[in-house]
């Protein structure tokens, strides 16, 4: 187990280095360099030189990289020249709002996705299974922003049941105080994730139902309810734990789109606006932050898998 942990953490560090090099390299792809993109077409050579010097872009790439990583490790995430705030301040403002959206969506989607997935597997090929499978196929194939637009059209434009935009307040407390405005964004987000969980849960339970331990449990005379919820369900949850770790990039993607559709002022919207403004410090820091969280998520999922499933020993 210790050997596995060391090897796995070593891999994560190598991946982290590769990703950060690639991300910093990405910024240099801006035509004319990142500073030119930031300052616009009318920037004077003097200003461009000044900023290149300021950010150290006139140094060799490896020095830039070491300096940048050193700053990151000290918690300095850079400065947004367009918004005139530090990236850390920006994250402090926007991250809580994104977390509210993601956590609420995650909870709602798990509440529906897991039990319905189990139900589908137990009653496979029943009419209910076909209907639910159809719904999750729809979830896989619907662009999340289109679902948002349709819900806005039905519930905000046509019938005024819910507001069309998310709460615009800057504090988390007042966002939570206006739950009606959160309904559409959270429902849209949850539907996207629901399709993921229910389909994995269905196939995972199906795989587990034919295992020997299920036959043993039945042979002992355990009731069907006990077999499904006591044995199969617990084992199937293991695969959901892994999936949660692996789905972080799609969860981030969903959050970006939903924040743009509903004009919800979280990290996703800030990132999108930074991209439109060539605000490369924001782009760099946000991308690296999400990547680090993803790598950590994968690491924890793998370790969690080894802890939860006694058959997995390294």
């Amino acid at each position: 187990m210790v050997g596995f942990l060391i090897r796995r953490i070593g891999q994560a560090i190598i991946v982290l280095v590769m990703v950060t090099v690639a991300t910093l390299g990405l910024v240099h792809l801006f035509p004319g360099g990142p500073v030119r993109a930031l300052l616009g077409d009318r920037a004077t050579p003097f200003l461009i030189n000044y900023y290149n010097h300021l950010y150290g872009f006139n140094q060799p790439f490896y020095l830039q990289y070491l300096k940048w990583v050193g700053q990151l490790l000290q918690g300095n995430l850079g400065f947004s020249d367009k918004l005139n705030v530090s990236v850390a301040t920006l994250i402090g403002q926007d991250l809580p709002k994104t977390i509210v959206l993601v956590v609420l969506g995650l909870i709602v989607s798990l509440i529906f996705g897991i039990p319905l997935g189990v139900y589908q597997a137990v009653h496979r090929n029943s009419p209910a299974d076909y209907v639910l499978t159809g719904i999750s196929f729809l979830g896989y194939s619907t662009p999340v922003f289109f679902l948002g637009i349709v819900l806005i059209d039905w519930f905000a434009v046509d019938s005024h049941v819910f507001p069309a935009t998310a709460p615009q307040s800057s504090s988390v407390a007042s966002i939570l105080a206006d739950p009606r405005a959160l309904v559409l964004p959270v429902v849209t987000y949850a539907f996207l994730l629901y399709a993921l969980w229910s389909r994995y849960m269905r196939s995972s339970v199906l795989d587990n139902l034919v295992q020997d331990y299920v036959r043993t449990a039945r042979a002992k005379g355990a009731s069907e309810r006990r077999v499904v919820w006591g044995h199969v369900f617990r084992n199937s949850l293991v695969s959901i734990v892994t999936l949660l770790g692996l789905s972080l990039p799609s969860m981030v993607t969903g959050a970006i789109l939903i924040e743009v559709v509903f004009n919800y002022a979280g990290m996703g919207l800030a990132f999108y606006q930074a991209a439109l403004n060539n605000d490369f410090n924001v782009l760099l820091s946000f991308t690296v932050l999400v990547t680090v969280v993803t790598i950590l998520g994968n690491l924890l999922a793998d370790i969690g898998y080894a802890v939860l499933d006694p058959r997995v020993r390294f």
């Binding site: 991300t23 792809l29 194939s141 662009p143 806005i152």
Partner: protein
């Protein structure tokens, strides 16, 4: 009883006639595929939408080059069956042109990423050892990148055309394919027929291309089908974020994005629902086909 007679007798017992030769994998796969109604429906819709987008403009001729502001947001009528958009383009004609982009990008990005991912994964799995470890860390790194964020950055940098957007999307899909094919390769690597190549002095690339890739072709085709659906969705996302192909070219996502501007201003349903439904039906069809193909290539479901 001679040996030939004995074989014939056994075959008869098993219900085989002597004319039953082992049939090709693709014919057997098709037989299973044809039993899957959703798969067939998906295939039918894909053929329909291909005809609609690529043959349709020759039958239903509209001007998709010059704007016509006298038809600004015109309502559906006999002349414009689904109305017009904010530049006076006929909406059905727009769907055809946008669909061409979406389908071309979807199919091409899938082919590029699957071909590259297959070769990469097969070489990595076949090489093993330190080469495999390094090559797979690259895949890990790629899979942990938040792909939409990087896609947004790349689109902002390159102001993509149809060709560049194909590669920008393909960059992010081949990682998953590579990991999958590597797994298959490791399972196949120690089979006798692959080892035999090494024994008779064949080059490793030959073992990969002639023996490993054909044996993993089922997995590869299934992944390719799902990749088409994903690429079409990804393109629509970029279009929605106004980072897709530049006008006058368009795609279904860009159409949705411009339609969104009029959502509060009245009932302009034809600007939003037709492109959205096209995206959904096309992606669902490719997903259905992928699911049916997965069953079709699974050997235990095939009749021999």
């Amino acid at each position: 009883m001679s040996e030939a007679q004995a074989i014939a007798a056994t075959e008869a017992e098993l219900g085989l006639t002597p004319s039953d030769k082992p049939r090709g994998m693709f014919i057997r796969a098709w037989e299973v595929f044809a039993e899957n109604k959703l798969g067939l429906a998906g295939l039918a819709f894909v053929i329909f939408i291909l005809l609609f987008c690529f043959v349709g403009p020759h039958l239903y001729v509209t001007n998709q080059v010059n704007t016509d502001l006298t038809n600004y947001l015109c309502h559906p009528s006999g002349q414009h069956l689904l109305g017009c958009d904010d530049l006076g383009y006929d909406e059905i004609g727009r769907l055809m042109v946008g669909g061409q982009t979406s389908l071309e990008v979807g199919l091409a990005a899938a082919v590029v990423s699957v071909v590259f991912g297959t070769l990469y994964g097969a070489i990595s799995g076949f090489a093993g050892g330190i080469t495999d470890a390094i090559m797979m860390r690259v895949v890990d790194a790629g899979l942990s990148l938040p792909y939409l964020m990087v896609l947004i950055i790349l689109s902002v940098i390159f102001h993509p055309t149809v060709t560049t957007i194909i590669f920008i999307i393909a960059i992010f899909y081949w990682f998953g394919v590579a990991r999958l094919v590597r797994g298959e390769t490791i399972a196949l690597r120690n089979r006798e027929y692959v080892q035999a190549v090494k024994v008779i002095g064949g080059r490793p690339l030959r073992a990969v291309i002639r023996h490993i890739v054909p044996n993993a072709i089922g997995t590869i085709i299934v992944q390719g089908t799902f990749a088409v659906a994903d690429a079409i969705l990804t393109l629509s996302v970029l279009g929605f974020l106004t980072l897709g192909v530049a006008p006058p070219a368009t795609d279904w996502g860009s159409m949705l994005s411009s339609g969104l501007n009029y959502i509060q201003g009245g009932n302009y349903w034809w600007l939003i629902y037709p492109p959205g439904i096209c995206i959904i039906l096309t992606c669902i069809s490719f997903n259905f086909i992928g699911d049916a193909l997965r069953d079709a290539f699974e050997t235990r479901l095939q009749r021999r």
